[in-house]
């Protein structure tokens, strides 16, 4: 066992006093049940007012957020698409695909973030509004981390382009500058705007030098005294060598040119070109990547990773991926300056800069309140073939473990359970068993929902679950007196025992009411009739009635007899069958042949002789017996008469 990475958090359950009362709990696949027990340590059973509730404790609370549903639904589609990416795709096209998938995930996060932001602004003061804005910051951190992982692990940018990606990353997440820029440019006299210089500095810090130069030209126009200095600084900005994507120059060339440029900046500073304007001088120091000058702009940098990227831009533009973590660590230390300790987000980003994927995922799992992020990120990184070697001491591997954790959260949700199915499908080792466990626990409120669950099971040949779902529905139908429905469900489940039970109910109802219900079903059983003996009997018995109704007496009679002689009819039903034979025996023409009559007699004797003698019969039973005896007498009489008639008829037929 590994040790804990942190103290487990304590969840307080409202209304439960665990100091005074014993608690009991039970695990479910995605949630836990907790309630108070009446167990008391002291001898005297005192009735303290207790909490009458059973609490359901869920672990993945973000699943229940209404706005995040969009995130779950949309990312489900992306996830399924990612699993379909052809394995054969290799090299560039595969990488391009994976980067596109990663960008799709991020755009869904951003869409949710924007929506959530609107809500947060809409009701700023209420508790829910505050909750929304805290969600916004969590989503924004998620996107920040994802974006960095995309640059480092998926894009795998080499030295040179790496910095360009990192600059984009910072620009995307420190975006107040755009509002500020619009604000300043919109004012009557931009260079006199109170935020003018912080805007220029921010633009320089973000490496947006063209925009910064335009700003400086505005200052030069408004203030001729500093025009010369502005022009020199502007030229420095313009001539800074940068790697442009289409350019074929080598890194060495770039480094050389950059070195010259750097020396020129240095010279201007030494010569005191900007001595008369402290603002321009500090900008020049920024261009030189001077740590002290950069740290003076702490407010504008707002965080250490911005500091890191700016510092790299102006001191190490061709930083190698492998050296990133050195600069990252020193930037973090310098920026925090021992005043505060790093927060979870800092640790996650640092782990990413160290290329420690597992640490990133671990820290994210601890820090975030949902499994969505780690599950999808890990899956994507796994498709980049970055996680193969890592196995856990529980579950099968990290990807599967996290996906299944996320899926079990979805299954616990009353509505999102359908999404969970696909996640289980793409976990080769434990996905199937996990799905089996979850799918049985989905409440089946309507047949329509049951059909959807059944479809999931049938597509995956989960016969056991199909049986159990059909059985649940059949039971429900029986309880609601919907025998036809119950029979259909047990036929669908191929559940012979239950079909027998339902057939018995049909026969009992027939005996009580003297007519069949649900003829539309029983008349159309077809081959399904063979499912159980009792069902076969039900179908055949109904057929007898139909033949009788159609006055096809001879067919009816032989069917009736065969039901008894072939032992399909349950013995308890023989008396009814024999009684049904009475009207046939009483017909004008002879229907039962002599041989058939003998068979009938034998059945009757079997039935009466086999009857055990009970002890003291009560009045009711005596009366029943009385009716029974009369019936038997009548049958015997009818049989005897029929036998006589049939012998005569057969004899005379043969004689003639």
């Amino acid at each position: 066992m590994e040790e804990f990475d942190g103290e487990p958090t304590v969840t307080w359950i409202p209304g439960v006093n665990s100091q005074k009362k014993q608690m009991c709990f039970d695990w479910g696949p995605g949630e836990m049940l907790v309630c108070e027990t009446s167990f008391n340590k002291k001898e005297k059973p005192q009735m303290v007012a207790s909490c009458p509730f059973i609490h359901i404790i869920r672990k993945d609370i973000d699943v229940y957020s209404k706005i995040l549903r969009k995130l779950f639904n949309e990312s489900h589609g992306i996830f399924v698409g990612l699993q379909r990416i052809e394995e054969e795709l290799t090299g560039k096209s595969r990488k391009a695909q994976l980067v596109r998938v990663s960008k799709n995930y991020r755009s869904v996060i951003r869409a949710c973030m924007e929506e959530m932001h609107q809500f947060a602004v809409a009701d700023k003061d209420s508790a829910s509004g505050r909750q929304f804005s805290s969600q916004v910051s969590i989503l924004s951190a998620m996107e920040l981390i994802w974006n960095l992982c995309e640059i480092l692990f998926i894009e795998v940018a080499p030295a040179g382009p790496l910095l360009l990606y990192l600059l984009d990353w910072v620009r995307l997440h420190v975006c107040e500058v755009d509002n500020l820029s619009a604000d300043v440019l919109g004012s009557e006299n931009p260079s006199k705007h109170e935020s003018f210089w912080s805007l220029v500095t921010t633009l320089v810090l973000q490496g947006r030098l063209d925009e910064a130069r335009q700003m400086l030209s505005k200052e030069a126009d408004a203030n001729p005294a500093s025009a010369g200095m502005c022009r020199v600084l502007g030229d420095l900005m313009r001539t800074m060598p940068v790697l442009s994507p289409g350019n074929t120059q080598t890194l060495t060339e770039l480094e050389l040119r950059w070195q010259h440029w750097h020396e020129e900046c240095e010279r201007h500073l030494q010569d005191g070109t900007f001595a008369s304007s402290p603002r321009l001088e500090s900008l020049c120091k920024v261009l030189l990547g001077d740590d002290a000058a950069l740290l003076e702009q702490k407010e504008l940098l707002s965080n250490w990773y911005h500091f890191l990227v700016t510092r790299l831009l102006y001191s190490q533009p061709t930083v190698k991926p492998m050296d990133l973590h050195l600069y990252a660590q020193s930037s973090l230390d310098l920026f925090l300056g021992g005043e505060s300790s790093p927060e979870p987000l800092d640790n996650i980003l640092m782990a990413a800069f160290e290329f420690d994927i597992h640490q990133v995922i671990k820290e994210c799992s601890i820090a975030l309140s949902n499994w969505w992020f780690v599950a999808h990120l890990t899956d994507l990184l796994d498709h980049c073939k970055l996680l193969q070697s890592h196995n856990l001491y529980f579950g099968s591997n990290m990807r599967e473990f996290l996906l299944l954790e996320y899926a079990s959260g979805l299954f616990a949700h009353h509505s999102l359970w359908q999404l969970g199915v696909d996640y289980c499908d793409h976990c080769p080792e434990l996905g199937r068993v996990s799905l089996e466990l979850h799918i049985e626990r989905i409440p089946l409120t309507t047949e329509q929902k049951a059909l959807k669950v059944l479809r999931v099971c049938e597509q995956r040949q989960m016969t056991e679950q199909v049986r159990s779902i059909c059985k649940i529905l059949a039971m429900k139908a029986v309880r609601n007196n919907r025998l036809g429905s119950a029979l259909s469900w047990s036929i669908r489940a191929k559940d012979a025992a239950f079909a027998t039970l339902v057939s018995d109910r049909f026969l009992r109802d027939y005996c009580e009411r003297g007519c069949f219900s649900d003829l539309d079903l029983i008349d159309n059983l077809g081959p399904a009739m063979m499912l159980s003996d009792r069902l076969t009997f039900l179908g055949k018995y109904r057929e007898f009635h139909r033949l009788y109704g159609e006055k096809r007496f001879v067919d009816a009679a032989s069917l009736l007899l065969s039901l008894m002689t072939s032992q399909i009819a349950p013995r308890s039903f023989w008396m009814t069958l024999l009684t049904d034979a009475l009207p046939l025996l009483e017909q004008k023409q002879v229907i039962f042949s002599a041989e058939q009559t003998y068979e009938l007699l034998r059945c009757l004797e079997d039935l009466t002789s086999g009857k055990p003698l009970c002890g003291e019969p009560d009045a009711q039973q005596l009366q029943d017996d009385d009716i029974e005896t009369t019936k038997v007498e009548m049958l015997r009489l009818a049989l005897a008469r029929n036998l006589a008639r049939s012998i005569i008829k057969e004899g005379s037929l043969e004689g003639s």
Binding site: E115, Q459, N480, S485
Partner: protein, 391 residues
Amino acid sequence: MLLRQQQCSNFSSNQTGKCGVYKISKTRWRPLPPGSLQTAETFATGSWDNEENYVSLWSIGDFGNLDSDGGFEGDHQLLCSIKHHGDVMDLQFFDQERIVAASSTGCVTVFLHHPNNRTLSVSQQWTAAHYHTGPGSPSCSNAPCTGIVCNNPEIVTVGEDGRINLFRADHKEAVRTIDNADSSTLHAVTFLRTPEILTVNSIGQLKIWDFRQQGNEPTQILSLTGDRVPLHCVDRHPNQQHVVATGGQDGMLSIWDVRQGTMPVSLLKAHEAEMWEVHFHPSNPDHLFTCSEDGSLWHWDASTDGPEKSSLFHQGGRNSTFLSHSISNQANVHQSLISSWLSTDPAKDRIEITSLLPNRTLSVNSLDVLGPCLVCGTDAEAIYVTRQLFS
């Protein structure tokens, strides 16, 4: 192709905090006023399988400045929505203002739309229209109402309890109830000719009922042979009232001629899972639309005019396979009267099928067509609208 529409793009002020889009069980266009030349612009949706379900009205009309992010043409906006107790099992417009909703609680509700103040309210309700009576249920327990059909002023409902109710909009009680009309679950209902209705059930039967007759026996039963495959949806040809299309659990499309035979005229292999809805195009009935649990939405084109037109639909589509034809020669029927759906010569009549949704994932539960517009709703909590079906 349909574009993925942005969900919940707009929230009217009384809707804050409610998304309005959940898993969609039903989508329906609001009917246009008779003689109107407008195209469809308002549709209703119902949600299912959520703790709180909603009936919502949406507009695809041009909102100009309201559409702040300059979204797609045809972006739809939530007009209003109202909480609905239980899953919305079916949804039908009764007239321009009223919508009838069937609930999994057995309740049938008529909602009234007030266009001026953008609200929906309950105007009439029949609680426990569908219920079970049995030893297991204490007195009576509710049974889901599975289907509705409206023909002003009449509303017919069917349910899992195998019961058929006939309501009239101005009556508090059911005008007519057929208990135990079916031994299994009734899945859908449609008017054949007033006062005749047609129901489909979970053992593959079509039953025709005539409200003029007393008793609880259907006037006619038609069925698929053998397998008793449940039928989930039914639609009647808008002009030829004897032509009926049904969709089954195995995804098969069946075309029936209720005047003759008890078996379908043709069985067409269609979707890979339950076909949830089938609709003839109301004004262009050579076109048919189906949607399925397998996440697909198909356009069937049986019109025989112009090869250049069908080639347009051909891309991404495929030809259907006729599995069986059971109808005998109809020499006595004038040829022009035979619907293209009933003709039996597979060589002459090719049906072009086009898939309308690009990448399928979760079930498409419902669709509706009106003029050149189609709307459908899915379990992935998305609504798709297209306004150029025939372009």
